[in-house]
């Protein structure tokens, strides 16, 4: 805002040399904000013995032992892949059920639609701790305990309402005339929906997929409770190691950095749409 007023008041020439205090303040805060993660990265690049031996702000010797252990130990890289599997499975399943529902909410009114919407939202707000015991027993009785599908289904509890909420916003932005024209042109609903409508809201689907990925990837409590070994998530692997005597800080930091990477990658792909996703006021 300051820059804008400066340009309109004094012209471009002065603003180029204008010392922008607000901008500096912002990037200073961002630098402080980045510190914990930078510290984690620096820890991951040092040997555990080195970490415990001396405190240094800038690592004097770089070592990849943490990462090597992470990739060589099947319980680490294996649980990492487990997390990737159920997160992607959850993303796909949530989108499949949420797309038609979001279309219905954005295009029609029907008996009880408002109440249904509210009920869906309360599930986004429900504490995971409430569902632990019954999930544990439910998934055991259905032979879904300790499977990727089980975790993906359980995470749909909060991800499906979220997907409906975000997608509904994007779909409402598409003019309804489009549907009518397609109908006049003789498109049946499934064909219209799959070949015309979905491609039109692909940026919305991208943003939704980002949030679905994010909330499934970051969740620990449910994923830990309904898995044991076969589908154990990386998050559980990390917390279980903590209780063991003598923590390998180097390995733990390396694993931490590895869990941040997919998110950064996804953010980079949707960076131009994130703001729009937030603009709908739906997260």
């Amino acid at each position: 805002m300051t820059t804008m007023m400066a340009t309109s008041a004094a012209g471009k020439k002065t603003s180029r040399f204008h010392f922008d205090l607000r901008s500096w303040l912002f990037w200073l805060i961002m630098a402080v904000w980045a510190l914990p993660v930078v510290w984690l990265i620096s820890m991951s690049l040092r040997d555990n013995a080195d970490i415990l031996a001396k405190f240094e702000v800038i690592p004097s010797e770089i070592s990849f032992t943490g990462y090597i252990k992470f990739f060589e130990d099947p319980s680490w890289i294996g649980s990492y892949m487990n997390s990737v599997t159920y997160t992607i499975l959850n993303m796909v399943l949530s989108l499949i059920v949420a797309l038609p529902a979001a279309y219905a909410f954005s295009r029609y009114t029907f008996s009880g639609d408002k109440h249904l919407f509210f009920w869906l939202l309360t599930n986004r707000m429900a504490p995971a701790a409430v569902f632990l015991l019954p999930f544990f027993q439910l998934y055991q009785s259905l032979d879904l305990f300790d499977t990727a599908l089980g975790v993906a289904l359980a995470h749909m509890l909060f991800n499906v309402p979220l997907a409906v909420w975000i997608l509904e916003g994007f779909m409402s932005g598409v003019p309804k005339q489009l549907d009518e024209i397609a109908e006049i042109d003789g498109y049946k609903f499934p064909r219209f929906f799959l070949t015309i409508f979905i491609p039109m809201i692909r940026s919305g689907i991208g943003v939704t997929a980002f949030f679905l990925f994010m909330f499934s990837w970051v969740e620990l409590l449910i994923a830990r409770t309904i898995t044991a070994t076969a589908a154990k998530p990386i998050a559980a692997q990390m917390t279980r190691t903590i209780s063991a005597s003598g923590i390998d800080w180097s390995l733990l930091s390396a694993a931490g950095v590895m869990t941040i990477l997919p998110g950064v990658l996804v953010i980079w792909f949707v960076r131009n749409y994130i703001a729009k996703g937030f603009a709908l006021g739906r997260v």
């Binding site: 008996s111 009880g112 109440h115 027993q137 439910l138 055991q140 009785s141 259905l142």
Partner: protein, 94 residues
């Protein structure tokens, strides 16, 4: 399909509550179909329709009961009767 419910240690009161809720939602839907609900503003100060008042009444009832549980040696029956009276008041004038 029945595996899904088998492991739950059912008790009669809870079964009645859940069946009751299901019947109530169905009933409200059918009622709403023939007599579309009128939105109005009662003593609660917000515009509500029929089913929203039912929802408000139920959660208020539950809240009052929780408060009564928190009071040591409170008489649950008396509290339940007063809470039910409140439910009726909300349903009619809310």
């Amino acid at each position: 399909m029945f595996d899904t419910f088998d492991w739950i240690p059912w008790t009669t009161p809870i079964a009645i509550v859940f069946i009751g809720v299901a019947v109530m939602i169905t009933g409200l839907t059918i009622w709403g179909h023939y007599r579309p609900p009128v939105r109005r503003r009662g003593f609660l100060g917000i515009v509500t329709d029929r089913s929203e008042r039912v929802y408000i009444a139920i959660i208020s009832f539950a809240l009052v009961m929780v408060i009564s549980f928190a009071i040591v040696d409170s008489d649950t029956t008396i509290w339940a009767i007063s809470a039910l009276a409140m439910v009726v008041v909300i349903l009619i004038w809310g």
